[in-house]
Symmetry: D2
Subunit: 348 residues, 4 copies
């Protein structure tokens, strides 16, 4: 089957934009035909405007596209947004206002009350807020967002456990350097070192997690009332964020209940057989010392969450370690899966 749906990428020349370009290569439904970037790049070929930094070659069919500026007009109806936070608010709203569906990786609208912060395995029903979004904002288009790259790891691991009544979550992340883009973290800061601080990251993990795991009441998105606290650290790892997590539940559960919940977890993306959906969204690894970022993050095309070391926690009920690929499931892959869900549900 040939891809039928033309798509664009806003902010296509930057690092996140490049991840979109790479992830969309060979996509069975979506065909990248439009790339938008700043005025400085507009009018150039994509290959001229872009310092390609990813492994592998720049896709040949994208290399020859002419870069447009980030204004609606000739862009396809579906656009992925990889725009920088400094400009994303204005650009994304302009596109939504002009009738585009903006599936965004930027943080700007994630916490807006009328914008879904979507993880298709966890809260597909949150898309139900879109009519309210359009009504309130007077848009013919829409904005849908995906979470921050560390939040996605935590929430995918917590999703299967929501049934047990999550009360309190304490998480410490060990995050890969690719999460900071390029040039990102100076090597003088991180070589044989850990930086115990990532600006704004802890707040994002805390509030995004509550929103994602919350409920759509039919009228509004109601955040989960669980308390969440995050310690975020940068470690000298290329790809893959780890989350050392302790959780308190309202119900009595056993370790094997948690493991069974991970092992059997499946959701709408799997049922709809979406092209980018991992066969199993959460994979429990029984080995004592797994998952590990360098060895495991790229499995399942980087779209699954890997969990290990479920054990009792002397302070809360259980503790475990979770891993996800920050530039795939934590960025471009997340957004593309969001768009696939919307397409499968007739929302594009």
């Amino acid at each position: 089957m040939q891809p039928q749906i033309e798509v664009g990428v806003l902010g296509a020349t930057g690092m996140v934009g490049q991840h979109f370009v790479k992830f969309l290569q060979g996509h069975p439904w979506f065909k990248l035909t439009w790339v938008g970037a700043s005025d400085r790049s507009a009018g150039k070929k994509y290959r001229e405007a872009t310092a390609w930094r990813l492994a592998g070659q720049m896709p040949a069919e994208v290399a020859e596209l002419t870069v447009s500026d980030c204004k609606p007009g000739n862009a396809p109806k579906l656009v992925f947004s990889a725009t920088d936070a400094s400009v994303a608010t204005e650009i994304e709203q302009a596109f939504a206002n002009a009738g585009h569906t903006v599936v965004s990786n930027s943080r700007n609208h994630r916490m807006d009350a009328d914008v879904p912060l979507l993880v298709p395995e966890l809260n597909a029903d949150h898309l139900g807020i879109l009519p309210a979004q359009r009504a309130k904002r007077g848009w013919s288009g829409a904005i849908v967002t995906n979470p921050n790259c560390s939040t996605i790891v935590l929430t995918m691991a917590l999703g299967p456990l929501k049934q047990f009544g999550i009360q309190r979550v304490l998480v410490t992340t060990m995050q890969a350097i690719s999460g900071a883009g390029y040039p990102g973290v100076p090597s003088m800061d991180i070589t044989a070192n850990v930086v115990p601080y990532i600006g704004g990251e802890e707040e994002k993990m805390q509030i995004e997690t509550q929103k994602i795991l919350g409920d759509f009441t039919g009228g509004e998105l109601r955040a989960l009332e669980a308390k969440v606290s995050a310690h975020c650290n940068r470690v000298p790892v290329v790809d893959g964020h780890l989350a050392a997590t302790s959780v308190e539940f309202s119900s009595k559960v056993k370790a094997e209940d948690l493991i069974a919940a991970f092992d059997t977890f499946t959701a709408m993306p799997q049922q709809l057989n979406l092209p980018s959906a991992p066969k199993r969204p959460v994979i429990y690894m029984p080995a004592a010392d797994r998952p590990q970022p360098r060895r495991d993050a790229e499995r399942e095309n980087g779209m699954a969450c890997f969990v290990g070391r479920v054990r009792e926690c002397p302070v809360f009920d259980f503790k475990f370690i979770a891993l996800g690929h920050n530039t795939v499931r934590g960025a471009a892959g997340a957004a593309v899966l969001n768009a696939e869900l919307m397409q499968a549900q007739g929302l594009l």
Copy 2:
């Protein structure tokens, strides 16, 4: 002043033993005159028996010592134990029975009810159990231990906060490769990777912390009743263990109270001006992204604990990051400071 007190090191040829040899170099009170190791090494010169792996040269005056086997007899009264856990129980008991004071870095006797697990800044009074130890075991000597290298970081940071009523502690460590000795962690496991598992480490941190922060009642060592849960991870850092810590207190406190408690903390080693005591045992670093292992662990000769990022925790009361040098304050330096305290108190 010339060092007057002759000391020996049990297990002197191994990695921890080498740290003792290095740390004792130039010590104002203690003169290393005796090195013990396995039968395989006994009779050789120390320089012949030892594959020296530390930065800098092997101390010239130790290089020419003849290695003894690890049996009491001609050893000095004060011996530091760097023996492997597989043989430490038997060797240390034999020396204590023969009248030696064994100041040990090995884990074997740490949790014995009649053995002090000593951190001079925190529980100097725990040495009060020694008469009971001698009486019960029929020893003329004694065994005194120091904690595991990750425990020391956590407990030194918690010590100044004990006054606020520590209820619950959740800690995630990021531990340096030097903590695993040599050859230790294979580079294939840890290069650009994190290993979210260190065998036995979490249990040690949990129970040792309770014992160290507990009280000596006059008759027995009573553990602190706080709950402690640890996630232990190995990261590609050479020296320095980080502990991302959340704490719940029984009293109402503010962030500035914690910072003041760190800044003003001083204890017996400082009051006695012990040679290896850091001027300030806990140093609060106000920069947003400190402490960091590569940049900070070696400050204060590696004998202080560095704390940063005190902030409110949405789940418990406060969270912060703590750092200590695992092979100095976490091993040889800890034991030597223990011996200095005993000497200053007339217990040798």
Copy 3:
């Protein structure tokens, strides 16, 4: 097409053996049906006998094979040898004597006068020595070897330049930790460090290069008379060996001649369309700072050699940098390509 030719792996449970098992997975011609290892493993399932250390899962169809001891008998006619050098001489000779074709990655027979040290793109004609090998040794089978993992990078880069008359070669390698197997290099030795020594490596590079680039006269393998000197270093890189190379030629050449020679180089594996042959054996990268091990070694399934920075050398004629994947093209992939060539030429 289903694979038709049954093959075995000697030393299948070790690291190199695991690379063979992984590389052979899904091979169109060869089906792995027999795994040999030491007595300690014999009789166990492969999955029981093997601590699998590679990325990805152990191939399911191999996991259930029963490990044999490394003696000829029920093994397939074609066996790959990943045996340790300490036992390879005896084992490989026993198999060759018993009629097996032993395609070996071990170093033991590489420099034997009657054993091909085969790189199919460079010296396919060296297989012509096999009748002499069989005659001299009285074997019905044969031994064919591939070079050391650093030699292959150098020789593949030099191959296209042989036409210009190679006189002198000075090469400095920067070699990945995976080249030392598991546990291999201790992390304490290589984290944020370089070890300027790899035992025996320089000698291997020097003499193997001369043999590989030499000629088969019809009667004997005659080494190239060029002088070769190697400096070998271990660097903290996971996969991919770099070779900074200066070369003196007998003919006058220009930089563009070298680049054209790399770009147009093709040889028998490409002409025969062997399954594991890279489309282009040597790929010249024009970017100023490429090739790089982490970004480039895995391209082309790890089977090509990447060259960059061809420029004039003030001491010799030209200098350049070359890169190859040490555990793929430098080990298992090299041997499998050797076997493919032999199969295509009717030599199995």
Copy 4:
């Protein structure tokens, strides 16, 4: 003895400037009383104008200095230059013209025919060109430079061998990230990777080496006629540049001659007992796998060159590995030693 000579640092707030500030702390002769930087910093306290990035604290006595702009006037007669190459030509010349002695780490004037490229152990007599410099330029002051951080390692290792008639030198460097300053090399480029390119570095090593090892004829600085070729690579090491070196001599020598030359090498800085001079400028390490950057670069306060692995080279006469600390002996320490030599010789 109290330091008597007031000194300034041009470009004091940058990374190299910080290395000067750190290195001058506690200097017995030189007292840092003046710091110059760009207009943006001028007028601020040094502690306000500077993002201190080095290990340890900013020296307290420097922290309170007020930053001047980089114009002569109130600066001390002796100034060290850590100015950026983009502005160094103009600034350094203005200071020299105004009567200052500019001891510079910048590259701008290194290759000027009338400017000494000074390594006190190797070419102290090159200072003899200063009268000609002053005469030609009409300066009352002067400019003296030190070499690039990789050149210094190579030349200090070659210095003791000059007596054997150096004909050809082929060197491959493995250079630390600190050589690129801050933010310098992005971690995405160098983590678990090697970058086989450092802009301009190879040319600098080639020509600077010839100038340093050349002779002062009385009238001019005549470059050594040896041919030098460099391959420069960036490796994930914090401090310490390695140089894998092959050398051809005009005289017949043996390995023991080279080792003796290294071991016995001493020169004017040692004879004058200059404060920053290493006791032995070149230290030969006999262990098979030394020197190593992480373990050895900081020895001798980072001021010595370490050499190892002297062995025959099949292409040239001998090969060896050399190591030096790039931010100490390769930058600030080099310049300070230059000034010490000038002071001891009455040239300040």
